[in-house]
């Protein structure tokens, strides 16, 4: 066992280039046994690249990786690599049609498989670490949280001394996240080193002893969390504040006063009216939800993941069918489950999973951002000039401070936050009178988060675009379906769903976080808040 004090995993002077981009510039850090080190940084700061280097997927251009003081095996030699470090990626690396035991020993089984041994060893690991998933369950039947446990068990089964967790709470409910923190503490107490990568700074403060901050590929800060404040950490991630005049193009984006003055909102007409919506969706049932959104209003819908928060967004946007109930836009019935019809009725849609529904990866930024308005852009006979496309996309990409090498760069090459900006641009482009946004800031860095939220708030306020802007009578309605409390700060009202039913509604911003959390758990307050 490595004595704590000596570094278990150490990287020194790591450099990595992609074409002209220097993704990592001389990054050095080390993790000791039993330590939980947080790694934070905005999208594009180089976190993913560092994760890939540490996982043995990328060979760095310069610099060394040391395991217990020895040079690491060649990258690509995954088996040897796994003896030291194993990564639980953001996207599950579990084969759904195999059992838990098979997944735990995936790629590490002997040529002739002894099923008994595989099962027994899986049970042993689960027991040793206090996990409670039967070895023979099919992974298809597990929840996201359980799948993550299987991945952690896989790392432990290979004897990895360091576990890398990449955005582990992105898909977890609050309770599950809390249980994950328990497991992380258990791991570190058992002498395992944990590298914890997250956008949620409060998580980092909660479970990490130390934190390292990457910015533009450089390590700008490494310090014990106890010595830091949240604002200090944000400042390190974002860097020095730039003079607004130095960047004339981006001044429009410089609106971060996201919290809206409730009194300033003049309620317009009812844009969206939903009545008695029911659904048996696998993403969470709905049992008779009714709600209204007025023009110029941001209505939040929140609750636990399984409470139907995403479902109501998808149903209203026409992305999925529902069993019963009506959706009306300005009084006119919108037929269920037809996204194109819903869009023509004025419903914009920012999907929950941008990789699945948000963009076409190998098409360019401009083309993706204008995908909703090709009909308006095309001339007679449907001819669509690339130049018009670029011109139409430009105001949106500049307003959202989208960083790309040009309007033709494939969106698949962008960082997560910029991909999300493309998805939002695509939605703003068709000037919807209602925007349905589902977890619009998931997996997005702090600065982009503020930009995205303020752009949604702007649309509701009707101060959206330089040319045209959104909707009729001032502003569009926004239906913001999210379980991230920080998203809900821009809302005028918040509806809390519990088990697919409206549990309570908060109508007076600012909202009390603790009250909201309590409500999402389905515990009522006596007051008629």
């Amino acid at each position: 066992m490595t004595p704590s004090g000596q570094a278990l995993v150490e990287v020194a002077g790591i450099e990595k280039r992609f074409g002209t981009t220097r993704a990592l510039r001389g990054v050095s850090l080390s993790i000791k046994a039993g330590q939980c080190l947080g790694l934070v940084g905005r999208n594009g700061a180089g976190k993913s690249t560092l994760v890939s280097v540490l996982s043995g997927l990328y060979e760095p251009d310069a610099g060394t990786v040391l395991f217990g003081g020895e040079p690491a095996p060649r990258s690509g030699n995954i088996t040897r690599w796994h003896e030291w470090i194993a990564t639980v990626f953001q996207h599950s690396m579990i084969v759904p049609d195999l059992s838990v035991a098979e997944n735990v020993f995936l790629g590490a089984m002997s040529p002739v498989v002894s099923w008994r041994e595989v099962r027994d060893r899986t049970r042993d690991i689960m027991r040793e670490w206090g996990f409670d998933i039967p070895a023979q369950t099919l992974c298809r039947n597990l929840s996201v949280e359980q799948l993550q446990v299987v991945e952690i068990a896989r790392a432990l089964a290979r004897g990895s001394k360091c576990v890398l967790l990449d955005e582990p709470t992105a898909a977890l409910e609050r309770e599950a996240a809390r249980r994950l923190f328990e497991r992380v503490r258990q791991l570190t107490a058992g002498g395992v080193a944990v590298l914890y990568i997250s956008h949620h700074l409060e998580e980092v403060f909660e479970i990490c002893q130390d934190v390292a901050v990457l910015r533009d590929g450089e390590l700008v800060l490494a310090a014990p969390t106890a010595d830091l404040t949240r604002d200090g950490l944000v400042a390190a991630m974002v860097g020095d504040v730039q003079e607004p005049s130095a960047e004339p193009n981006t001044v429009t984006a410089n609106t971060v006063t996201v919290r809206r003055q409730a009194s300033a909102v003049a309620r317009g007409d009812v844009v969206l009216e939903v009545s008695g919506l029911s659904s048996d969706s696998s993403r969470g049932r709905l049992a008779g939800v009714s709600l209204r959104v007025h023009a110029g209003e941001v209505v939040g819908v929140t609750g636990l993941l399984s409470a139907g928060v995403a479902t109501i967004g998808r149903v209203v946007a026409g992305a999925e069918e529902h069993a019963d109930g009506e959706i009306r836009m300005r009084g006119r019935l919108v037929p269920p489950g037809q996204r194109d019809v819903a869009q023509r009725a004025g419903i914009g849609y920012i999907p929950e999973d941008r990789h699945a529904e948000g963009f076409v990866p190998h098409l360019g930024v401009a083309e993706n951002a204008t995908m909703t308005i090709t009909k308006q852009l095309a001339g007679r006979l449907g001819v669509l000039s690339p130049a018009r496309r670029v011109a139409a996309a430009a105001p949106f990409t500049s307003r959202l401070s989208l960083v790309s090498s040009g309007p033709g760069q494939p969106v698949g090459e962008l960082s997560g936050g910029n991909q999300q900006k493309v998805t939002v641009a695509r939605t703003l482009a068709h000037e919807p009178s209602l925007i349905v946004a589902i977890t619009p800031t998931r997996g997005v860095d702090v600065a982009s988060k503020e930009l995205l939220l303020s752009s949604l708030a702007d649309v509701a306020r009707g101060s959206a675009g330089q040319d045209g802007g959104a909707g009729q009578d001032g502003g569009a309605g926004v239906l913001l379906c999210s379980d991230e409390l920080s998203d809900l700060d821009i809302c005028d009202r918040i509806i809390v769903l519990v088990h697919g039913e409206v549990f309570t509604e908060f109508t007076e911003p600012p909202f009390d976080r603790d009250e909201l959390i309590v409500a999402t758990e389905g515990i009522s307050q006596e007051a008629d808040k």
């Binding site: 730039q242 410089n254 609106t255 699945a356 083309e367 090498s405 988060k449």
Partner: protein, 353 residues
């Protein structure tokens, strides 16, 4: 959990991500795009040199006119298959349509003596029938695959067998001949030394290429193939586009069949099926960089694939390669071209600058 920390408003200062200079990498992207589009050019040059060495008859106008005439039918079908591949589909039954559509049309127009039905319809009506048969097969495929949510490979495999059976059954394995002039015109006529079929094929390639690059439906084809869920979420009617592409592909296959029928001035009960034309169609499309996974490919690539196969076939003929070995060599060249195209061009992309 600390409760006060994530208030967005308290982050305060409006910071903005730094703008990276984009000019250099934009140029780089462009160069890569050009490189990919001409990835087959070196192979074609090498083949032409080989051809010139093998036979003095190779570098002659009449030889190239011959290659054009022989490749144009294949080329038109390749356009259809490429479109279907680009939406992430797959159609094996273009081979069946290539045979059945001209066969049914010819059967309705040639006299009983030439094994016709005896209806003796006008050849112009016959061409309409040909297009209608193509459209009907495409529509049926499209409905089964898109609305019926069946697997495209299996549906069109079954369809291929049905079509081949119908084709052979209707004429009881006879060959329809004596095709009337207007019906055979497309495949047999020439303007000067240039075959009409070649001109038509080139026009179809160019129009389809422009359509894919500059038409909103063409762009939607890339979007649907690249990520159907994202295309749907952006309000694109993906079902309609997919079915439309299946119909278009089958109509193009029928036109290709008409060219072939005119060229040999007959329709056998096994046209298309007998030669296994679908293998060459897929080979040409894939050599030309059309992705089997959808969303990627362009007409310049597809055309180079067709030309490459045509030249290889021609060189093998001119070199008097023994018939017993011709297929093995043909196949080896296809594999070689695939590897080379992959090495030179990487994975080919959609037509975005």
């Amino acid at each position: 959990m600390t409760s006060n920390t994530t208030t967005v408003a308290d982050g305060g200062t409006g910071t903005v991500p730094p703008r990276r200079s984009g000019v250099g990498s934009a140029l780089r992207t462009m160069n890569v795009g050009v490189l990919r589009e001409v990835a087959l050019l070196p192979v074609l040059v090498v083949l032409i040199v080989v051809g010139a060495v093998v036979s003095p008859a190779f570098l002659t106008v009449s030889n190239f006119a011959g290659i054009g005439e022989q490749s144009s039918a294949l080329g038109v079908v390749v356009v259809g298959e490429s479109l279907i591949l680009m939406i992430g589909g797959m159609d094996l039954s273009l081979e069946g349509t290539y045979g059945l559509a001209p066969m049914v049309a010819a059967w309705l127009i040639v006299p009983v003596a030439a094994y016709g039905d005896g209806t003796d319809w006008s050849p112009y009506l016959g061409i309409l029938v040909l297009l209608a048969v193509g459209a009907a097969i495409g529509l049926l495929n499209g409905l089964l695959i898109v609305k019926g949510r069946l697997n495209g490979f299996i549906v069109t495999l079954g369809m291929t067998i049905v079509l081949a059976g119908l084709q052979n059954g209707i004429v009881k394995a006879q060959t329809l001949f004596n095709l009337p002039g207007p019906f055979a015109y497309l495949g047999s006529a020439s303007i000067g030394q240039v075959p009409v079929s070649l001109i038509v094929a080139v026009v179809i390639f160019v129009l389809t290429g422009l359509f894919l690059r500059y038409h909103r439906t063409g762009r939607a084809i890339y979007a649907v193939g690249g990520n159907p869920a994202a295309a749907r979420a952006a309000g694109i009617k993906i079902d309609r586009i997919k079915i439309g592409v299946y119909v278009t592909g089958s109509i193009l296959a029928a036109i290709g069949g008409l060219m072939e029928a005119g060229r040999v001035s007959a329709v056998t009960g096994q046209q298309g099926y007998q030669e296994g034309i679908i293998f060459n169609v897929f080979a040409a499309a894939v050599i030309g960089g059309v992705s089997l996974k959808g969303g990627r490919g362009n007409m310049i690539g597809a055309a180079s694939g067709v030309i490459l196969l045509g030249i290889v076939q021609d060189i093998l003929d001119l070199a008097n390669v023994s018939n017993y070995w011709i297929e093995a060599i043909d196949g080896a060249v296809i594999l070689f071209a695939l590897v080379l195209a992959r090495v030179v061009g990487g994975e080919s992309t959609a037509e975005e600058r």
